[in-house]
Symmetry: C2
Subunit: 223 residues, 2 copies
């Protein structure tokens, strides 16, 4: 054999792979799924179209990995919040508000990953992560129930799904600051986002809060 995978080569391969992913992500982040074409990715990564296919078997798998990387990070952040101590209600509030705030840091990307029409295959990866987020929310609700903070007359999985749908829509819906792409860095924009995040989080908490009668009946101490 006159050829072997030396570290140098392997490093280059890794680098190419990363460049492809980075280029793909950048394209989605700027132009949404419309720009997300293999030829564009190759051009942005400074290589030929065919080369992309040395690293990814198909467009769908490439972009699924992009989506996966971004989404997993968000799931991790939420899971961390869910795991932190204290009563469930503030944890839920923080989780929702944090998600909204983080998403608003890159609205175009968030829109593409959450709501923009796209290929069925990419869409499926999307569902996976939406389910993962829903699962984290469910776990918070579950713990809130155990502590008697939260209502028991709705199934936790249903409640989680509804909450996730609610904040996703609040995030990308027509009245969200998403439309006004301009002054994304101004103080006014930041305040607006913070306020929106807080309101959405408030509603999420209220939608699963135990009715007062419940709370009164069982006075308890935090764990």
């Amino acid at each position: 054999m006159a050829y072997r995978q030396t570290p140098a080569v392997e490093a280059r391969l890794q680098d190419n792979r990363s460049r492809i992913l980075a280029a793909a992500r950048a394209l989605v982040s700027e132009g949404g799924w419309g720009e997300a074409q293999v030829a564009n990715v190759a051009a942005a990564a400074g290589m030929a179209t065919g080369t992309v296919y040395r690293y990814f078997p198909s467009k769908a798998e490439l972009f699924a990995e992009v989506l996966s990387a971004v989404s997993q990070r968000e799931v991790d952040v939420l899971a961390e919040i869910a795991r932190s101590g204290g009563p469930a209600t503030p944890r839920l509030h923080t989780a929702v508000a944090t998600f909204v705030r983080r998403a608003m840091r890159n609205p175009r990307l968030a829109y593409a990953l959450i709501a923009e029409p796209c290929d069925r295959e990419i869409d499926e990866a999307r569902l996976t992560y939406r389910a993962a987020i829903s699962e984290v929310i469910r776990s918070i609700i579950e713990s809130g129930r155990e502590a008697n903070e939260m209502r028991t007359d709705v199934r936790p999985d249903v409640a989680a799904t509804v909450i996730v749908g609610g904040f996703m829509e609040g995030l990308v819906g027509p009245l969200s600051p998403l439309g006004r792409q301009q002054r994304r860095t101004t103080e006014a924009y930041r305040r607006e986002v913070a306020q929106l995040a807080d309101q959405i989080a408030l509603m999420a908490c209220a939608s699963v809060a135990a009715p007062p009668s419940n709370v009164r009946r069982i006075p308890r101490r935090p764990t």
Copy 2:
């Protein structure tokens, strides 16, 4: 002039147009947007592809009209509920639960019209009707505020958007009965749907209910 639009001809034209719309709707209702191809529509309506273009300028306009017809009906139903008398909270509950129950009568169609990935142009018509639904919900919230039934610390339009997102997701989300297409007519299925609708509606109401403290603290009269 050796030709004029006789009533007989006009009737046939109208009929063709209706047949196209019906065929298009049926296709979406069975196979979603994947089946929604102009050639398929023509075949289902028993005519040639080109004929469809005598009645609709483009695929997008054709399907936008399909979506419009179905959605407008739902908006009307919700508006009727919103307009009915009584306190706002039960009206909100009824509106949400009714929407969910009605959508469940044709889950495949509902999924396509609400959530399935589709062309940008069709998607825009979708947004219009989602906004219309949101508007109806907002009006209920608004009246609930005036009657001091509902919280005043979230913007009504934000609240409406979040609620709409919540029930849409609850409707088409992974845990909805949408997946199990089978026994759509059994009693068990019907009960399941009714229960889901009720739970989603309960959450919607809770998310905008006035906290007890508010009601006590700020007894104010409507403007």
